[in-house]
């Protein structure tokens, strides 16, 4: 068990190092930050001086090594654009993204499971078929289009909800939250629907097919034969047994909600880390891009590591295979 964990952790670190190396080798294709940082009246000497100051004249392995050296000590460098430490900026922006991801995740899971159960039980009903057809929109329309459509409907035409931003926020400790004000809550509605729609339809379809599978099982027939009420059969016995794969997928999707918030954040001018990353690309703000990419990969690697360890703990067969192989 311990050997397995150590091996997995070492593998994860290797993955992180490779992601970082690929990211750093790509940065010079994103462009040159120098022209954005110097004004119109710059000279060639200014350009070369600044390039040397930033270490951009070094080959990328050297730049990467310097980044790693700082990162290990918790220092991600200073943003080229804002002239402030990247870690400060990331901490400032993280609450916005995490709150948005939490609300979207909650919506996706609760509505997704409810609709999944409904469409499985009433599999031939009109409403269930209508929901199934509409859910295709959630899977097939690109996020930015859904976002723009929602803005035009609910902000421009109806005027009910704000078209951009996070509304008023309140500072609780170092955490800025939008949960405590009316405008903050209103501002959450459209972006969280936009971000969660894909996951919602995914969970709904998954629950529906699992549920249909389970409802055919013998123990469900016996439960019905015993004269249990539909409610108890559907929710106590059937739903419980569909949730195992749903939880696995949802856990993995949580990472994508945070990582793919980039598009939603851009459409709604949501001041989170995704928007920060987009701005960093436009400005070739290498320290911000590097820190963001590393954080996202740490998150994915971490989630996968936990999932692997959970499997290992849950499934004895896996344990047997592993030990047999070595």
């Amino acid at each position: 068990m311990l050997a397995f964990i150590i091996r997995r952790v070492l593998q994860s670190i290797l993955v992180l190092l490779v992601v970082g190396a690929v990211a750093f080798s790509m940065f010079r294709f994103v462009g040159d930050p120098i022209d954005n940082m110097l004004g119109q009246e710059r000279t060639q000497a200014d350009i070369e001086r600044l390039r040397a100051d930033l270490g951009l004249d070094q080959p990328f392995p050297v730049q990467y090594y310097k980044f790693l050296e700082g990162a290990v000590q918790g220092n991600f460098g200073v943003s080229y654009r804002q002239g402030r430490p990247v870690s400060d900026i990331l901490l400032e922006r993280a609450p916005a993204t995490l709150e948005l991801a939490a609300v979207s995740g909650f919506l996706a899971i609760s509505i997704g499971i409810a609709l999944g159960v409904f469409t499985a039980i009433r599999r031939n009903g009109f409403a269930a078929n209508a929901i199934m057809s509409v859910s295709l929109i959630g899977v097939s329309l690109p996020t930015f289009l859904i976002g723009i459509l929602l803005i035009y409907l609910f902000s421009v035409e109806l005027g009910w909800l704000p078209s951009f931003g996070r509304g008023e926020t309140v500072k609780v400790g170092g955490w800025s939250t939008g949960f405590l004000t009316e405008s903050g809550l209103k501002a959450l509605i459209l972006p969280s629907i936009t971000l969660g729609l894909y996951q919602m339809t995914l969970i709904m379809r998954l629950v529906r097919s699992e549920m249909l599978e389970v409802l055919r099982q013998d123990y469900i027939r016996f439960a019905r034969a015993r004269g249990l009420r539909d409610r108890a059969v559907n929710f106590r016995h059937a739903l419980k047994n569909t949730l195992v794969p749903v939880i696995t997928v949802t856990g993995l999707q949580l990472g994508s909600i945070i990582a793919f918030a980039i598009i939603t954040e851009t459409v709604f001018q949501w001041p989170g880390v995704g928007l920060l990353f987009i701005n960093a690309i436009q400005f070739v703000d290498i320290p911000v891009m590097a820190a963001y990419l590393m954080l996202i990969s740490v998150m994915f690697v971490g989630i996968n590591l936990i999932v692997d360890l959970l499997y290992f703990a849950i499934d004895p067969r896996l344990r047997a295979d592993r030990t047999a192989a070595h």
């Binding site: 294709f29 994103v30 462009g31 040159d32 930050p33 120098i34 022209d35 954005n36 940082m37 110097l38 004004g39 119109q40 009246e41 710059r42 000279t43 060639q44 000497a45 350009i47 100051d53 930033l54 200073v78 654009r81 804002q82 002239g83 402030r84 900026i89 400032e92 723009i148 803005i151 035009y152 902000s155 421009v156 005027g159 704000p162 078209s163 951009f164 931003g165 851009t266 459409v267 709604f268 001018q269 001041p271 928007l275 920060l276 987009i278 701005n279 436009q282 400005f283 070739v284």
Partner: protein, 521 residues
Amino acid sequence: MFRSISLAVAVTVSASALVAEEFRWAETTDPQTMDPHAVNSAAVLGFLNNVYEGLVRRGKDMTIEPALATRWEPIGDGEGWRFTLREGVTFHDGSAFTAEDVLFSYERASSEAADTRSWFAPVSEVKVVDDYTIDIMTSAPNPIFPDSIANWMMMDSGWAEASSAERPDKDNGNFATLNANGTGAFQLTTREPGLRTVLEPFDGWWDEAEHNITRAELTPIQNPATAVAALLSGDVDFINPVPIQDTARLAANDQVKVIQGIEARVIMLGFPHEAEALKYSGETTNTNPFADVRVRQAVAHAINVPAILQTIMRGNAEEVSQLVSPAMRGFSGDLAARPAFDPDKARALLAEAGYPDGFSFGLKCPNDRYLNDEAVCQAVTGMLAQVGVRATLDAMPVQNYWPELRADNYDMYLLGWSPGTFDAEHPVRFLASTPNEEKKLGSWNFGGFSNARVDELLPMIQSEIDDSKRQMMLDETAKILQDEVAYVPLYVQPLVWGTQANIELTQRPDNFFILRWVTVN
């Protein structure tokens, strides 16, 4: 009796203050710093013009008018300029503005760490005469010096020292990156980079306030569709810019207004004057057709600028014949006509130059720097193909574009130039002088255009005090640049702003949004 009158006055004043409102606006880029000397970019200087002030400022028609200096006159035969400062001016923190602050701001803005130091290249010394008089000495007579320092903003020496911000720090930031203390009509109350920046009127401002704003909030919105939706839904009062393709739709809406004008930026095509050979040509080897002036003339005649303006700019721009627009000081009125669109003449010129069948080459173009830049380059490619010159278009984001130009990876390129001094001398210095690193000349002259007479005229223009003599030299320079087709100027870029119908404001060609001219009705 008097008491009740003054009470009545007080009531009316507070009533009109109640009518005044909060003003929210959105721009594509957030000003990257609040330090007026750290970054020389339009986004920073335009925003900080509301907070900080210079000795002089530009009025609604771009003319120079007194600000923190009440008057200025040349010293002797042009050894420098004497500025008489306004008395009774205070900074937002209450400290008084004196000549010491001007000297400090000079030292700060011209320091090695400042992005604005090139403005002070002509300055040899700054001398404090008394509390309200300061002499700025120049190494040669400099008639346009007062014009060139409209964006040189005054910072309080005591405030900067107390907060250890004596010098700008672009790389690591300091107190002045996030805080401001100017003399302007508005003071900075909240600064959250990339999120929002809040300004409130400064009660102790020396000038009469024209605006009726009680609070103003800037939010950067990068996505143009989001900005338009925010304007339409009333979440913001002003957006800049409005995407060209949305202008007609917004103009048809009663709730909002579209304000159009002409920016100071001239869009032009540049050539590889110095190159031995074309880089992206199939059939020409070891020759550079663009070195022949007839080929460059042919390019100028082959491009149908009115058609570009009508289709791509939807009638929002104006064609231009020189490196500056007609609104700039020193524009040559007699040379206002562009080469006529004449494909036959272009073909004849090409044949005469030895390219009857034309040739192929590579056109480099940015795709996110100027309004519809890639579409313009596509149109140019099509028009040049009509006369047999076949361009392969390579469009890219601006952060990849400048390195390509610096590495000479182009056969022709698109460039926009906005003269920081609003004077015709500016593009001559940056675009038409023979590149000279030491003298800081021709730093944007990627193609290496070089003309001995232009190089000779530039220092004379820079130091000529007599306006009509100066204009004659500028005319001569403009004539040479036109005859030699150093560049092919195409059009002046449009400015398109959008506001709610109840907002009155003034649009200036430098694309600075000046809050003190805004009225909310």
